[in-house]
Symmetry: C2
Subunit: 143 residues, 2 copies
DNA sequence: TATCCTCTTGATACAGCTTATCAATTTCAA
DNA sequence: TTGAAATTGATAAGCTGTATCAAGAGGATA
């Protein structure tokens, strides 16, 4: 659990730097958050209802946004919802999606990743994460 | 303006295929849409208010979604809003998005495109369109 | 070109997700 | 322990996008 401790430390530092406080709720939410790759506020709300039935949805939104500011989480808008990704689980999840049958094929390509870094650097960015989706027709759907 | 004519034809075909009708509003919205790379329903609403003060926001949403189904547009969720991208300008414009300030930098990279094709081919896919977004911090937000 | 069935529109109510508000509570430095 | 400042929980409000529905427009047919 050294990873969890490390993240907790990142949070502590961020809080100290901004005159914020470490509350029971923030600890609880961080612990649960670190166990998962990505969550929505709603899913955490239900998960944590067992541990603390009075934990409010607004607190979860506030706290997840706080994690984003602290660099522990990253928000991504997926459809109508916001997904909060655990930065430490940065995996390569690229997708080929068939517009005919909906099949999703996962792939990774180091060369593409390298070129992405190159583009980012050229524009003064440091990449935290990315999203690459290729839409098309699979072999079967073309016939 | 042969491109505009071509897109209009794509729309006409889609409408015919699905027993839909070509209305004054759909022509108006398509014409305005083709002049831009990406729009939101709200921006089009204001742009078109001059040409047709009675054009409803719901009609714009419906029509932009129709364009997506016809393959002329592609919807993407940026922040809390939905952006509708002009597909004919697509393939040339991927996005670098700053998670700090929201700045969006467009870029194109033929080599990445080529590698995407390669991945698709290897998996038996033929790409119709794609989405590539790099999320990170811009130079200013890192300080 | 007149007819008629169907699709579309505009206005607005509604729904889903997220943020703002505020009194009560908790944190933590002194 | 105390007290100023931050946080919480409950909920109202805000924002984007969709559903509803009566009135209007398209277009195939004759």
């Amino acid at each position: 659990m050294s990873k969890a401790l490390k993240e907790m430390d990142v949070l502590r530092q961020h809080l100290a730097k901004h005159q914020l406080k470490l509350t029971r709720q923030r600890e609880l939410i961080l612990t649960a958050f670190l166990r998962q790759e990505h969550v929505t506020a709603e899913t955490m709300y239900h998960q944590l209802a067992k541990k603390d039935p009075h934990l409010g949805l607004a607190t979860i939104y506030r706290t997840l946004n706080l994690f984003c500011e602290a660099g522990i989480a990253q928000a991504r808008h997926f459809g109508t919802q916001t997904q909060y990704d655990n930065i430490s689980h940065k995996g390569h999840h690229d997708h080929l999606i068939c517009t005919g049958c909906g099949t999703i094929v996962e792939f990774e390509n180091c060369e593409i990743e390298r070129l992405q870094e190159e583009v980012a650097t050229r524009n003064g960015f440091v990449i935290q994460t990315h999203r690459l989706e290729l839409y098309g027709l699979c072999a079967r759907c073309r016939h």
